[in-house]
């Protein structure tokens, strides 16, 4: 699926894609990385070391796939740079703690250099900032001028 998205960008078939690596409550097993248990129950690990080990494997696997995707985009030349230079790719989860179903302090990765995004940083956003502020910021970086988006209340400043 990441290959399809990369090709779709490369051929300019679309400028926007979204993909879920696993649906909510996914019961997919990952025998290919040695995890025969269903995904969702593992996230309710309650601190059990075995569950944590397995869920770590799954999360690592997902991030590796994401890295593969970024690598593909970076390998595609486009206008003096790479396709990744002209993209903003957001990876993350809508829950920070699956066990607690907490949607605060979401772990998110924003890759690409669209609209002057600068990488190599960790931004600790002020507590309780709506994630839609980040979406509004991304929109502005890819050339869609908005003041807010969804239930956000502004545009997150990603400069500096």
């Amino acid at each position: 699926m990441f290959d399809l998205q990369a090709i779709a960008f490369q051929a300019d078939l679309t400028r926007v894609t979204t993909m879920m690596l696993g649906r909510e409550g996914s019961v997919r097993t990952y025998p290919e990385i040695g995890v025969p248990d269903p995904h969702h129950p593992l996230t309710h690990h309650r601190g059990h070391p075995d569950f944590i080990e397995k869920i770590t494997k799954i999360n690592t696997y997902h991030v590796e796939l994401f890295g593969y995707f970024l690598g593909k985009l970076q390998s595609m030349a486009e206008g003096g740079g790479t396709l990744l230079d002209h993209s903003a790719i957001l990876y993350g989860s809508a829950l920070s703690d699956g066990k607690a179903h907490s949607n605060f302090d979401l772990p998110l990765v924003l890759a690409g250099r669209a609209g002057g995004l600068r990488g190599g940083r960790h931004i600790a956003v002020e507590a309780k900032t709506p994630v839609c502020n980040l979406f509004a910021s991304i929109l502005n970086h890819v050339g869609v001028a908005v003041e807010k988006f969804g239930d956000g209340d502004g545009v997150l400043d990603l400069r500096g």
Binding site: V27, D37, P38, H44
Partner: protein, 547 residues
């Protein structure tokens, strides 16, 4: 007597009903007696002058007017309500007379129904025709391009066009269908089809979805919400694997559940699964299934049995009513061990109370160990000569083709069609789109039959079918002998189509591979200039070698 009374009387006296007859003269008499008083050139009631329209041939010349007269009489609108009516019997005779006259006229009309297009088969019809002709149900038309439709219908002759792509598909379909009928089904590689079954039972804590009566219910589970049903088309008689992915929950300390698989309403396999968190748990099995569509049902047997006693259901669970792990605070050593034993089969952080066991998906894999022999019914339909394989004679070919062509054309096949040099050794019958091409004429030439090969070329495939004869095979080749010469030329020439493949012989195993050369015969191609027939393809005739 006042004038008022006199007038109706006078008019009534005009209505001396002459005996009306079924002949035109009877109609004329009736009209003269009952109608022309008002409907004449002077008073022209309703702008209708009947008096002057009673001459010879009036019922034909003024058909439209007389149809209106008939209508008025039949519905009783005439005579108008105020005036005295002629006897009903007379009216009936007159209307009958008019209807008879109209029917007589209609019978004499030469019908001009217009041009009827040669009728192509749409995909559904093609599949059914193949099945009827050869008892082969591989449904090749499912891979055809979509039918050209018109006005929302896919069986409009004029709309069903033949494109080069479709003709190629016909050729390929013919190959596969005949091979299946005579040599058995294609050997398929196993694959798996995933059917998500997204029924979800909303049973949140504190709000139960349980039925009121837990004792009288469908013990098979087939009609409960806990079950899942899909229809799958099995390509061939074979063994198939079935994987049921479970989902949902059972209350803490329930007895194991019994997921089961039904095929066409018959129980095929059941399992026992011990878990109260069923999310993502899997049971699998295999079964032999015949080709075709079958209903697969995943259910839970006795789904309300085995619940904890507090649910007051049948056969309550005998397990102790204690939580399997602690539900608050950090996991104890005991908890860790318990979770090592049960894995994700139990809830880690609560006492489960829900009864929403359901299915996540049904995955069908296969075919494994498939049947490879040709269907008996197909062989019966093809080899009407009654001889066993290897024991055919020269007359068998003719018998087979005559029978087949007759069934395909839905009329007896003519001797010229059967014998006209196109068929030599009846073994393999290629089925092209038949009725569509029937009846089209083509420029003859090169000794080939002026009919496009519909049931077309019969090709020698195996010596045993001809008793080991080494007679030259029938050529079924293109205009250009050479690569792919075992295939049909159908749509390979002309400005609308591409040239035949020139990049090498057809690879082994591919349908059509193996030229006549390989069979030790002499291959001779012949093709005739075909006429383009109105669409975008030019068809070559597939004809016999000139040997």
């Amino acid at each position: 007597m006042s004038l008022r009374h006199w007038v109706p009387f006078a008019i009534a006296s005009l209505c001396v009903a002459a005996p009306a007859s079924a002949t035109s003269s009877g109609v004329v008499d009736f009209v003269q007696k009952n109608c022309v008083a008002c409907h004449n050139s002077k008073s022209k009631a309703g702008d209708l002058d009947l008096a002057s329209q009673l001459g010879e041939g009036t019922f034909h010349a003024n058909r439209g007017m007389w149809e209106k007269v008939l209508d008025k009489l039949k519905t009783g609108q005439m005579p108008p309500p105020a005036l005295p009516r002629p006897p009903a019997g007379d009216v009936a005779e007159v209307t009958r007379g008019l209807e008879t006259e109209f029917a007589r006229q209609d019978r004499l009309v030469k019908p001009a129904a217009g041009r009827v297009s040669a009728r192509g088969l749409n995909r559904a019809e093609y599949n059914n025709t193949i099945r009827d002709l050869l008892a082969v149900d591989i449904r090749p038309a499912d891979a055809f391009p979509a039918d050209d439709s018109a006005f929302g219908f896919d069986n409009i002759s004029d709309a069903l066009n033949l494109s080069p792509a479709l003709l190629e598909k016909y050729v390929d379909a013919a190959e596969r269908v005949v091979r299946t009928a005579i040599f058995g089904p294609e050997r398929l590689k196993p694959s798996m089809i995933h059917y998500p079954t997204p029924v979800r039972i909303n049973d949140s804590r504190g709000h139960s979805s349980l039925p009121k009566d837990l004792f009288h219910y469908d013990l098979t589970g087939l009609s409960t919400l806990h079950s899942a049903h899909i229809i799958h088309r099995f390509p061939v008689d074979a063994e198939y694997s079935f994987r049921l992915v479970l989902n949902g929950h059972r209350p803490n300390q329930s007895e194991p559940v019994h997921p089961a698989l039904y095929i066409d309403g018959k129980l095929v396999q059941q399992w026992e699964y011990d878990a109260t968190d069923l999310e993502g748990q899997i049971v699998e099995g295999r079964a032999r299934v015949t080709a075709g569509e079958h209903l697969l049902s995943a259910t839970y047997l006795k789904t309300y049995h085995g619940l904890p006693p507090s649910y007051h259901g049948p056969e309550p669970s005998k397990r102790p009513a204690v939580a399997l792990i602690s539900t608050r605070g950090k996991l104890t050593e005991q908890d860790i061990e318990t979770l090592r034993k049960y894995g994700t089969k139990i809830k880690t952080d609560s006492i489960e109370t829900r009864v929403d066991n359901r299915f996540e998906s049904i995955d069908v894999g296969g075919p494994f160990h498939q049947v490879t022999a040709p269907p008996a019914e197909s062989l019966r339909k093809v080899f009407v000569c009654g001889h066993a394989a290897g024991k055919h004679t020269d007359t068998c070919a003719r018998m087979i083709v005559t029978n087949f062509a007759g069934r395909a054309f839905r009329r007896p096949a003519g001797a010229k069609e059967v014998d006209g040099g196109q068929l030599r050794y009846g073994i393999e019958l290629r089925i092209h789109e038949h009725t569509f091409l029937e009846g089209r004429g083509y420029a003859a030439g090169g000794g080939c039959e002026p009919e496009v090969g519909i049931r077309a070329p019969v090709r020698q495939l195996r010596p045993e079918f001809t008793g080991g004869s080494s007679s030259p095979p029938v050529a079924v080749s293109q205009e250009h002998p050479g690569p792919g010469a075992g295939q049909y030329a159908a749509a390979d020439h002309g400005p609308w189509s591409r040239r035949p493949p020139e990049d090498g012989p057809v690879p082994d195993g591919h349908p059509g591979s193996g030229t006549a050369h390989d069979r030790g015969g002499e291959e001779h191609g012949c093709a005739v200039d075909g006429k383009t027939f109105g669409h975008s393809v030019r068809v070559h005739r597939l004809c016999e070698a000139d040997v």
